[in-house]
């Protein structure tokens, strides 16, 4: 067996470990090989003295340095999910995003601006309609002369209607604010690189 084959075997056994842990472990053994060469030892001598890669892996397990992660339910679920999200994000940024045309890369920013503006417009519309309807209800507007008038609306009902309208408008304003916050964050990120 050569050094590379030995290290490959180690990598195989440590495949479930965190990437940075594996990197550190492998680099320790690479250094060991380098030092062995300085003593004029061959790959075979060094490997014989080191012992089986599987034993080394088991030694790391029993020292509690690495934990085996086989599925989502083993180990820390939150860590796993964070790992997955990080990986997905990195993968998107490195593989997907560069392939997208420029306007697609800009899209998320545009989406936030558009939805933000729409939300503000909706809020204005909401309040406008509420005001008009509240006024019309309060004067008991009756445009058609030959239709029986609606029963009188109590002051409490008018008040409740008005407040509902104002609340709906406020909701839209908050949505708009959030959208613009996101847009600004994205823009700041771009400027900062």
């Amino acid at each position: 067996m050569t050094k590379e084959q030995y290290l490959d075997l180690l990598r195989y056994y440590f495949r479930q470990a965190k990437a940075e842990d594996m990197q550190e472990i492998i680099s320790d053994y690479e250094e060991h090989f380098r030092s062995g060469y300085e003593q004029n030892l061959t790959d075979e001598d060094i490997i014989k003295a080191l012992g089986e890669p599987k034993q080394i892996y088991e030694a790391y397990l029993s020292e509690g340095i690495i934990t085996e992660k086989k599925g989502l339910l083993k180990g820390d679920l939150k860590e796993d999910l964070k790992d997955m999200l990080d990986k997905a994000q990195v993968e998107f940024n490195t593989t997907m995003k560069p392939q997208l045309p420029h306007y697609w890369q800009e899209a998320s920013k545009a989406v936030f601006v558009t939805s933000g503006t729409l939300a503000y417009a909706l809020a204005a519309l909401c309040w406008f309609i509420t005001l008009i309807l509240t006024y019309l209800l309060s004067i008991q507007w009756q445009p058609l002369a030959d239709v029986a008038p609606l029963p009188a609306v109590s002051l409490v009902t008018i008040g409740a209607f008005f407040l509902t309208g104002v609340g709906a408008g406020l909701t839209c304003v908050f949505i708009g604010q959030e959208c613009f916050k996101q847009y600004k964050a994205k823009k700041a990120k771009e400027v900062l690189g």
Binding site: D28, S35, E38, Y60
Partner: protein, 107 residues
């Protein structure tokens, strides 16, 4: 020799070696394997655990040949731990020796 006992002894030897001087991994492995038979590869997980438990710390130092090497230095906690372990070992081994001498005489 049973591995659990050996593991504890090797830990004692590694800490003892580091109380004298800072060493890089290969030196530690090489020195100890001259005295105790073992798989050299199992020293690195041990060193890693000692580092995790803050008994030792590591630093990088340029080597004359090739890339820098990872050196191990014993910490104050490590030294205290070593003294404690050494005392335990001395008590234990002298008790075992006393016992075995008694067995010899009955032969």
């Amino acid at each position: 020799m049973k591995t659990q006992l050996k593991k504890g002894v090797i830990e004692l030897l590694v800490l003892g070696l580091l109380t004298q001087k800072n060493h890089y991994g290969y030196e530690i492995v090489d020195t100890i394997s001259d005295y105790v038979e073992m798989s050299e590869g199992s020293i690195y997980p041990l060193l890693k655990r000692l580092q995790k438990d803050t008994l030792v710390e590591t630093y990088w130092e340029e080597s004359i040949s090739g890339p820098p090497r990872k050196y191990y230095r014993i910490t104050e906690i490590g030294k205290a731990n070593y003294r404690e372990m050494l005392l335990e070992w001395q008590e234990f081994s002298s008790a075992v020796n006393r016992f075995l001498e008694g067995v010899d005489q009955h032969d």
